[in-house]
């Protein structure tokens, strides 16, 4: 880069290579160069999509099973849905609950955590997921999980009523409080502003007062 500052070509090399971290002289160049600013804006938009593209859906990420096993698996899943979970098939309002349950089943290890996470780690999870949560209970698991095309905060808290999963879902609205149960889990979806909060437990139903307490501490 010259002492007089970068030319368009040099500026675009930096923008195209690392749009989130531009050197000061490139930033200065952008002030007076609308074309490079447009290039920067386009590249940042592209980068958001690249980030989303790289975050592969892990629930589809199981090793390829042989065709016969795949058929047996598909058949057993279908049977389970029809016999045990017709509830999910025929009531569209519970589709979100079904995806929440499936997500928790896919991350079953999250139930096995017992040590409180450091506050900085929780803050990182919430920041990435675009949520604020002043938890009244110790948080023992937290990850900004891909969920329906967005990052959501998947937390596990230790409440007086036992271990509880808390998913903060800013991009999915539910009209009313909806209770559900499946696979030994009980849960409730609660409206929260423009989003919703899902609470799941394996220790009986989620008490209404507890759900209210948790949801009252969520901000987007």
């Amino acid at each position: 880069m010259s002492a007089a500052g970068p030319d368009h070509r040099q500026a675009r090399l930096h923008i195209g290579a690392d749009p989130q971290h531009l050197p000061p002289d490139v930033v200065a160049h952008l002030e007076g160069c609308p074309d490079c600013r447009r290039f920067r804006d386009e590249t940042l938009a592209l980068d958001g999509r690249v980030h989303a593209a790289l975050e592969l859906p892990l629930h589809r990420f199981r090793a390829k099973a042989p065709p016969a096993r795949r058929f047996a698996l598909a058949a057993s899943v279908l049977l389970a849905l029809v016999v045990g979970g017709g509830f999910w098939l025929f009531r569209p309002s519970t589709a979100l609950a079904g995806e929440v349950v499936q997500h928790v089943v896919d991350e079953a290890d999250s139930w096995n955590m017992h040590q409180p996470l450091p506050p900085a780690q929780v803050a990182d999870v919430l920041r990435v997921a675009g949520a604020q949560f002043d938890s009244p209970f110790p948080i023992v698991y937290g990850y900004p999980c891909p969920f329906k095309g967005h990052r959501v905060a998947h937390l596990v808290v230790q409440t007086p009523n036992g271990t509880m999963t808390v998913m903060l879902i800013p991009h999915e609205q539910v009209r009313r409080r909806t209770q559900f149960s499946r696979d030994g889990m009980s849960g409730v979806l609660v409206p929260a502003g423009q989003g919703s909060v899902a609470l799941l437990t394996r220790d009986g139903a989620v008490p209404e007062a507890l759900a209210d307490e948790i949801v009252s501490r969520v901000r987007w």
């Binding site: 090399l13 195209g16 971290h21 980068d47 999509r49 790289l54 859906p57 589809r60 990420f61 390829k64």
Partner: protein, 174 residues
């Protein structure tokens, strides 16, 4: 707290760290190997190696780049040891690998295919940067390249993806 219980606490914290980062390690391994089974194997080896070497990680904040580096090395080691065949990208696409699925978002699916088709020399630094969060300096050190070479590769990687995103490609850089 005595030494034994402090050791137990640290081991527990390290386990949680691995659990938290495992999904992204698996994604990174997949983008390297372009094969789900190989990716699972690489991550398994990575977690074992990381556990054995956990004393080397002084700063938990550096865990992510540290683990991504181990994934990359385990991937190379696995190919060297097992002499795995190179994955045919056209075949992966033809199989309609569900790992690339995008829940109806056609643009995202196209972008995943385009990333899959990038040459290794462009795809690897891009994934290290965007998914791994490594700086261009860290990528240069990891890939044994000059920083200028890393900038050029990252520029060219994004430039190839611009057309998929409906943008005009920029003039190439030397």
């Amino acid at each position: 707290m005595n030494a034994a219980s402090r050791g137990t606490t640290l081991a527990g914290a390290f386990t949680r760290l691995l659990e938290m980062l495992r999904p992204d390690l698996l994604r990174f391994a997949y983008w390297l190997a372009r094969d789900r089974q190989v990716a699972e194997d690489v991550v398994q080896e990575t977690l074992i190696r990381a556990w054995k070497s956990r004393e080397e990680l002084k700063d938990p904040a550096a865990a992510r780049p540290w683990l991504f580096t181990i994934v990359r090395r385990e991937h190379a080691r696995l190919f060297e040891r097992k002499r795995l065949p190179t994955v045919d990208v056209d075949e992966v696409e033809a199989l309609g690998d569900p790992a690339l699925a995008s829940d109806g978002d056609v643009g995202l699916f196209d972008l995943r295919r385009a990333i899959m088709q990038l040459p290794d020399e462009y795809r690897e630094p891009l994934v290290l940067q965007v998914l791994g969060g490594l700086s261009t300096t860290e990528i240069a050190a990891e890939l044994n390249l000059t920083q200028a070479a890393v900038l050029t590769r990252l520029f060219r990687a994004r430039n190839r993806l611009r057309t998929i995103y409906g943008l005009e490609p920029a003039e190439d850089v030397e």
